[in-house]
Symmetry: C2
């Protein structure tokens, strides 16, 4: 069975790729170069694709800095740093990129239908304090309807299924899952800042560091602090 | 009220842009350079944007030839030509581009949320024989749910509304509507082949020519045949 995996190169999507492999899928990875600050994650996506042995890794390019609207696509906006996990859970953060997962899933759908894949895997997670609207179960259900109604495949046969294995997991559970699947954490990248070393203070670093620490594990990534 | 209008430069989307203007909207047009054969339509989109006096015209570039899957994005596939309107209605044609409207609407949603628009206009039409799955009312409803659930705006306030004024119109009714709104047909482009003159035989040309002819009107575009 063919599957398309949305792969950012981060901890979550890398775990999802290994989950798809464990599910017996022939894996086709797709990543996006949207001029994000942390384009460094694309190198990680390429490394993880190689170590997982994907059939193909597509990188789709477009430019979301055209209109900005997020701290991840507008260099003039400051990244939030040094917030506690509780502060993160309060509201939708400025790292929210309008319609990002909708754009990503749309391209994954196009790719999946073209190659005849039955599944699209995505590493969204509703519990990791991020508050992103496009990471919640009702949103994924709505996209599933789009997959069914908006394609030839969905109209004439069985719709391509969205698989979101991390949806209800805590970050620590994701790290445990990744460990059990053999994900090479040193190849992944989570930091939003995109420097040589991970900053350790952006929301994404904080969540990652907290999870490794809670589990008593060592994160092999180099951190500034 | 701000509105984003999906503008291909064809007859339908140009009419929709003029409809949005007539509805009193401040118009922001968005077009896509996806390496389609008929990229010539982008010149038309620019012309129509100017004549309609839009506030901004964004052209988003990405490459759907990465995986092909359609006669519009794969030069090795032949365009269907010389089919009757009845033949066109039989099945989903090879000019179907997997997930195209889903990709287009996703970018329009991102743009709309960023600029604070209340509406996204799209020129889909369920009756023009095309058979495209992503031009039908139930699909548009599914995307409306995505607009509501997948954005900050939809979660915290009123969702950005998808407006599809041509959904239930026949091609002749669209031409009549465009005429009443003052669309300059000579600036539009419909032909899939993308030559200097319109081919006159591809599905898109056939539908356009038949509509003008049925209404006893002259299409100002130059045709090969």
């Amino acid at each position: 069975m063919k599957a398309v995996i949305l792969l950012s190169g981060g901890l979550d999507s890398s775990t999802v790729l290994y989950q798809a492999k464990a599910d017996g899928c022939e894996c086709y990875a797709i990543s996006f170069d949207y001029q994000q600050r942390h384009r460094r994650e694309l190198e990680s996506a390429a490394k993880i694709s190689r170590s997982a042995g994907v059939v193909q890794h597509q990188v789709v390019k477009f430019d979301l800095t055209l209109w900005g609207g997020s701290a991840l696509t507008d260099n003039k906006m400051e990244l939030p740093g040094d917030r506690s996990l509780e502060q993160m859970s309060e509201k939708i953060p400025i790292t929210y990129v309008p319609a990002r997962n909708t754009i990503f899933l749309s391209f994954a759908l196009a790719y999946a239908e073209t190659i005849g894949a039955e599944r699209v895997y995505i590493g969204v997670n509703a519990l990791d304090y991020s508050g992103y609207p496009d990471c919640r179960p009702d949103y994924i259900e709505a996209m599933q309807s789009v997959f069914r109604l908006g394609t030839k495949q969905g109209r004439e046969g069985e719709a391509i299924a969205i698989v979101a294995p991390l949806l209800e997991l805590k970050k620590t559970e994701i790290v445990e899952l990744g460990n059990s699947l053999g994900v090479s954490w040193e190849d992944t990248w989570s930091c939003y800042a995109g420097g040589e070393k991970a900053c350790g203070v952006c929301d994404s670093c904080r969540l990652r560091v907290a999870a490794f620490s809670e589990l008593g594990l060592t994160d092999p990534l180099p951190y500034v602090s």
